[in-house]
Symmetry: C2
Subunit: 289 residues, 2 copies
Amino acid sequence: MNDRFLAIDWGTTNRRVYLLDRAGSVLETFRDDRGVLAVGPGGFADEVAAIRARMGDWPVVAAGMVGSQRGWALVPYLPCPAGADQIAGALHEVAPRTWIVPGLSDPRGDVMRGEEVQLLGAVHAGLAPADALLCQPGTHCKWARMADGAVASFSTSMTGEMFALLKQHSLLAEFLGGPVADGPAFRAGAAASADPALLTALFGVRAAALLGLRAVEDSAAHASGLLIGSDVRGAGVAAGSDVFLLADPMLGALYTAAIAQCGGRAHLVDSHAAFVAGIAQIWSLVRDR
Amino acid sequence: MNDRFLAIDWGTTNRRVYLLDRAGSVLETFRDDRGVLAVGPGGFADEVAAIRARMGDWPVVAAGMVGSQRGWALVPYLPCPAGADQIAGALHEVAPRTWIVPGLSDPRGDVMRGEEVQLLGAVHAGLAPADALLCQPGTHCKWARMADGAVASFSTSMTGEMFALLKQHSLLAEFLGGPVADGPAFRAGAAASADPALLTALFGVRAAALLGLRAVEDSAAHASGLLIGSDVRGAGVAAGSDVFLLADPMLGALYTAAIAQCGGRAHLVDSHAAFVAGIAQIWSLVRDR
């Protein structure tokens, strides 16, 4: 019975499970914190059995860090360029009627697991053009160049992780307790990121607070502007660039502002809808073979 | 009796104490871990009394974080440009016959405490020209532009702290256990730092290891090359630049290699000799007034 299937976006700390019908419509979904690290080695088969007991005994297709060394099984990266056909042809059957989507590698030296499903789905669902620059902000921000609906190349910047490192562990920590939102302090930071000396600009956050050049409560927004501005410029966004953003509202607003400051235009894409469209497309290519 | 004096280079985690004669020669010196954080508020007078009991009841001149909010007393920053005359005129008498050297600020948004003594001393002792670019690598790397023997301007990059953050707390941590030394991996990282997308290049350290593009044991040297190369380029080092380095042998070798890769020339300066020359010069301007 292949009328329905279960799709799992199974990341490091969270997972989201969908029951989808043949057309790719969501019949039921839930999200919890049973990510790869919480499940641990040996626990994945039981997890999937519990999901089937709850949502029905359907085929399962999982994507994300579940396919990494810390996950259920290490599924080799598929090198770019790669489209839905290549991915569907490389699904890893980890257990009966249970598949893991391979992550992608960029031979220049980059990797992703899980984001590829959103990227392909965004184009497949018509949320982004077949030839476009897509951006997935977060702990590790992905920038993907799509060509003819496939992932042509991509790069990752550790923008979100860097902000967290600075806020939690650095000498700047005591200055980074303020709010982060689009506004003058964020935009000043994004503008200052045009100077490539990022390590100097970051130290300057502390110095400016000590010297009274900037209110301490503006420091976090300024630092965020520096990092996101540096990320956007490093990705080559310039006047006239269109960027399709798969982001939550907060990061979406920050990246939209930083992209606009470089003269580009941001277009927000629903990342959950993109995942569903992508996994349904991949499954449709496998289902009946 | 002003024939001799005690100079203290009193930093956050360590201090070095010198007994100097009128000519600025070192009669006796020791280093220990009684830095500002270990001494704590209220403990400084006793520390100085203990030093005098050990080395003689001489005037004391201290520099470094001892003049910060966490130190003995908050001594206001002296704005650049500033030379030995300005600093000598702004010593803070924190107790009888006991002075703290003010730190410097760059009005563009930067601060230092303690490094200014080395900078002035390097020029005063003839270890660096009166008009030169000086660099003090470390947790927070200082780049100072000297003009006519005074500190004209400076900037700080958090190069060393960033490496430590990445090694201790980031997703890269597991890849950064290898040795850091000048060699092919370090130089490749320094060359790659010509691309300003530092946040992407750093993520690439992990990706390259996962993909087998670079040996894991080379990752730390490569990341160090990225950070130090970015630091050197951000400071404007280019073909024909002369940089006077106040560094320990390990960092001195790394910065020398990165500076050479940019076409510059590094000149190593003994930072302890520079501190002694600087504090003796400052004291000579105060002593007899």
